[in-house]
Each structure stands twice: as C-alpha cells, then as structure tokens.
Amino acid sequence: MKKKNNVFDYILPFVLPVLFLIFWQTTALRINNNAIIPTVDRVLENFINFFNDIIGIGTIPMNIGYSLMRVFLGYSFAALIALPLGLLMGYFRPVRALFENFINIFKPVPSISWQPIVLGWFGIMSLARITNLDYGPIFAKLDNFKFSMLSIIAIGSFFPIWLGTLDGVTGVRRVLIESAEVLGASKKNIFFDVLIPAAGPSIMSGLRAGLTSAWAALVAAEMLPGSMTGLGYMISHARELSRMDVVVTGIICIGFIGACFDGMFRLLINKKFSWGKDVR
C-alpha cells in the first residue's frame, strides 16, 4: 500500500536550513563586520545580481561555466586513465603487483601539494596554445583551460576512481566467474559481460567520489597565480578585497553544484545499480 505523504515529509528537510539561516543572520548582525561574516541579505544581493559583473572578473555564471568545464576536462582525463588501470589491475595479478605499491605512495598526497610542480612542468600551456590558434575570442576562452589547473583536478579525482574500480573488480564473487567459465564463456566474455557489470556499483561509487574530489581540487587549481576566472579565483580574489560576501557566495555555488553532481550520481546508482546493495 502506498504511504500517504504527510505534511511533515515536506517540512522536515527545510527545518535545519531555515534554522541555519536564522543563526547566520543573527550572528552577522551582532558581529556587524562584513570582513568576518557577511549578512544573509548581502550574500542574497549577489545572487539577485547574478548576471552582473562581480568584483571586476566577469559574472558569476561565466565563472561557474569555466569551473564546470575545468572539472569536466580534468575529471574525464582522470577517468580515462583510472578506469582501465583499475580494471586491468583487478583482473590481472601481475599488473596489480606492478602498479599497486607505486600508486599507493602518491595516494595520500593532497592534490594541492602538486601546485608548484605542475606550474613548473606546464607553465602557461593551455588548450588554446597547444592548438596553435590565432588570437581571438576562441583563443581567449580556451586559454583559460591551463594544463596546470587541469592536472591538479585530474590528480584529485584519479585516486577515488581508480580505487573504486580496483575494489569493484577484486570484489566480484569468484562463483560468478567460475560459473561463466563452466558454461563456456571466453575470457573476453567474462571480462565484459560478467566482471564489469558485477563491479559496476563499486565503479560508480568510485566515479561519484572522484567527481567530489575533482570539485574540491578545483578551488586549489583556480587559486594558482595567474588564474583569472572560476569560482576558486573569485573566492581568493574576493578575500583580498575583504569581500567576504562574495567569498560566501562562491562557497554556496560550489556547495550547491557539488550537491547536484552527487545527487545525479545517486539517482543513477539507484536506478541502474540498486541491485548492488542487495548483493552485499
């Protein structure tokens, strides 16, 4: 029998956010210093003027767009390497023996630590400069995607994706593979039709965690000297101007978008891989 929706089902999710807003506004009014904590209305004003230039670095949607694109590029690059590597390491013991300890040395290193190194390696190399475009609007836009930034994001997202994939493959029940072998399946069939689908829930979890890490690494990437766009740059630049209202605006944007990404993955996992919970 379908559960009847109660009014509390609709009210409860809003209780904490409303209490938080009240607490925030009360505290901000009491402290009365925008450099320490801005008021809710001041931050709201930035969202009301969403399509206006903010602190001289373009509009908020423009900066969100650049950030999203950087995350997409860095994350995709990380997934391109982490997924096949995790699959191969999970399936072939010699490959695992070759790579596992080496990768584990770098796993605990936060992506922000790589800033000086990637800056030295890549300098100002960007998508625009590598394609040798003539200067123009396209060049100006593509020049915002510097390899140093993209590599920070890629490093940040690589490890969760790799680990989720590796765990997924190594966690596939032996009986599934043996059953397929008994029924005459080839190694290729076993790999693509048994192993990958069985490892699917864990791979998806890894991809989900990887996207969260990519989004977190983005802020560190966009704080690199010379960066001129993005939510991370907006936050660091606003701090220098004592515009904490813009800092908070940037944080809210990052949090909201990150939550949306996570929600998308949750929906996908629930729809396509919900059986994974039952198997465990």
């Binding site: 209780v15 373009g58 030295g120 100006a140 010379g226 960066s227 001129m228 101007l241 004592s242």
Partner: protein, 389 residues
C-alpha cells in the same frame, strides 16, 4: 506515525538548541578560565608596568614596509631612543617609552596591502605598514582603519619580461596598441599602489585595461598574482609579461636575468608620479581610541627607524638582506626615499590616488565620489606625526 514525526522534529530542535547553549556554556567556562589566566598574567605584568595591551603589528619583507625589522635584527641601533621596540621573542616585542612598557606586540609578515587590510578588517591585525591605497580601499569597504602618515615614496618600477619587445613605457604603449593580443600583466595585490599607478598610467595613455579574461579586445589584461612572492615566478613561467612592483622585486628580477625595468615612477609620462608616495603607517580606529599613547609611541619609532634607513643605506641593506632573502647588492639598488614627513608631496600623492581610484571605479562604498579633501578628513589622522592638515 504522526507522533514519531513530531518526536523527530522535537529531537532535531532540541539538539540544535542544546548545541548552541552548550557552546555558549563551554565558551563561558573557557572564558572564565582564560580570564583567570589573564588575571594571573595581568597581575605579573602589573608588577612590571600596569595593564598592558597585547596587540598585533605587521609589515612586509620588502623595502617599502620592512624597515621596522631593523628593531628586531639590530635593537642596539636605537638603544639611545626614549621610545623603543625591544624584541622579547622570535616574533614578539615590547613597546617601551621612558622605561615604561606600553604594549606587547606579536609581529607578523604580511604578503600584500590587501592581505594586511583584510586582517585588520577581521580584527586580526592592529597596526601595519602597508600600501596607502589598500587602506583607502579597506575604509571604502567598511573597515574602521586610519592612515596616520607616510613612511616612504618612490621605489616602484614597472618590469617587463626579459624578451619583451619594448624597453620603455612609451614603447610599451605603442606595442600594446598595435599588438592583436592583449598583453598579460599582473599585480601582487588588487588594491596596492603599484597596481593603481600602472593601471592609471596605462589608462591615461588610452590603453584599455581589463581584469575580465573574456575581454579579449582589451589592450592589457591584468591578473592577480596573489602576493609579492609570485612576482618573479610569474615572469619566469611566462604567466605574465608585465607588472609594477615595489623595490627590491624589480631589481631582483633584473639580477636574476628574468625581467627588465622599463620605467620607474619618475619615467612615467606627465611627471605626476615623480617620487610618488606609496606605503604608510596605518592602524585600526579602536587602537587610536583606546590606546592613543601606544599609537603615538609607534609613530615616534617609525620616524627614527625610517630616518636611519634613509641615512644609512648600506648598513640597512646589510642588516635586512637575510630577512628579505636577497643579496645586499640587490638591496643597494633601492631608490626609495624614506620619510615620515606629512609634506606637500605626500598630500598631493594621496589626492592623486583618490582621484585615480574614483576615476577607475575602485571606490564603491564609503569613498565613492568623495573629493580628496573629504577623503583626507575621513581616512587620515596626522596628529601622531605632529601635522595638522
């Protein structure tokens, strides 16, 4: 079911309220403990010289604002002064006047004027030597801070990458107008005087300057390099090919064969930037209100320290080379004039900054559209340097 939901709601509210009350209680208890400790400390201090404020003082590690470091590295230089900053730890010093302790300071190195003003706005810094334009911007944004007087003038140079196809400011202008791509320029602090001077000088030469990366039609695109320490790396990595910075960074860029000085302030067109003031002694309004004697004593210290720096250049370079991490030879290239005199040159310079910053739309709050005279009344307080403008 309804009862369960009501119970859940009540539980959530209780947790939130208890957390808030719990924190307050904890804070009160902690404050009580701290008060007890403070009372004990105060009793000890009182044995020495009465109630003494514990404050935070800052300056940069460059030749515009770093002169007070002399009190740290060579306090014996000023032992005959009646008012002195005496080091009592690695990053702590006491302010003493006529043998009486007036204050204890924790000292911090600030990375830029914007950094300093943000810290002051957040009550994390009480007094600082930093860029005057940064303080004006901070006041404009709502910070209750004051400029008390100058400490130096000049000492700003415009630096281009070593292989840039221009060697003077005039050649830069010609190149910027004819080049199809914008010139990438940088600044160490969004509200510092070198940035204001560079941007205004470019705009006066009909160069379009923008901070928006999407503005591909601009002649010059300016990006935030986030601190003085990134000036040299930004040139060597090719991220920017132009910046204006305080001594010794331009000289260091030349010494490292990474950049070349294409203009000093005196070389800029029009002559209005000759020996132009940049950095000042600044503090929070509540420090002036609550401890004017401390501010007065600091002003006295600032005066003789900067007099020493002006008259003993070689000795100053020698003493500060380790603090600044540079060879004495580079520091000897210092073309700054040190003075705490509130003179016509200083007032003229501040007025020019006000006009320039309003013209460029940098003031959006309390100083928006204000005249230089009005800004002088609001932001400046010269009485501690004995001047009355």
């Amino acid at each position: 079911m309804l009862k369960r939901k009501l119970l859940a709601l009540l539980l959530v509210l209780t947790i939130v309220v208890l957390s808030a009350c719990g924190n307050s209680t904890t804070t009160t208890e902690t404050t009580t403990e701290t008060s007890t400790e403070t009372t004990e400390t105060t009793e000890t201090t009182e044995e020495v010289s009465g109630e003494v404020p514990h404050l935070i003082f800052g300056w940069g590690n460059e030749l515009h604002t770093g002169m007070s470091q002399l009190s740290f590295v060579a306090p014996e230089l000023f032992e005959n002064q009646s008012t002195r900053l005496i080091p009592i730890g690695d990053s702590q010093m006491e302010l003493v006047k006529d043998g009486k302790r007036l204050a204890i300071f924790d000292f911090i190195v600030t990375s830029s004027g914007a950094d300093a003003v943000t810290l002051m706005s957040q009550d994390n810094l009480d007094a600082v030597f930093c860029s005057s334009t940064a303080v004006m911007s901070g006041y404009d944004s709502g910070a209750d801070i004051k400029i008390l007087g100058p400490v130096q003038s000049g000492g700003v140079s415009i630096v281009a990458a070593k292989n840039a196809p221009y060697n003077t400011f005039e050649e830069l202008i010609e190149y910027a107008k004819s080049n199809p791509e914008p010139i990438m320029a940088g600044y160490h602090s969004p509200v510092s005087s070198p940035r204001i001077v560079l941007e205004y000088a470019l705009k006066e030469a009909d160069i379009t300057v923008s901070g928006d990366a999407a503005d591909y039609n601009a002649d010059v695109l300016m990006s935030d390099l986030k601190g003085l320490s990134n000036l040299i790396p930004s040139l060597s990595s090719g991220q920017v090919e132009l910046w204006a910075g305080p001594v010794p960074h331009p000289q260091n860029a030349e010494a490292q064969d990474i950049g070349k000085i294409i203009a000093k302030l005196d070389d800029l067109p029009g002559g209005k930037w000759k020996d132009f003031p940049c950095c000042t002694f600044n503090c929070r309004q509540d420090l002036i209100d609550e401890h004017p004697e401390v501010v007065q004593a600091l002003a006295e210290v600032a005066t003789y320290v900067h007099d020493y720096a002006q008259n003993y250049r070689e000795e100053t370079a020698d003493l500060l080379s380790e603090f600044m991490g540079l060879d004495k030879a580079v520091l000897m290239e210092n073309d700054t004039t040190y003075s705490t005199s509130v003179n016509e040159n200083f007032i003229h310079g501040m007025n020019t900054y006000v006009l320039a910053m309003n013209d460029m739309g940098k003031f959006t709050g309390r100083l928006k559209d204000k005249t230089p005279e009005e800004v002088l009344d609001l932001v400046f307080d010269f009485k501690f340097f004995g001047e009355d403008y």
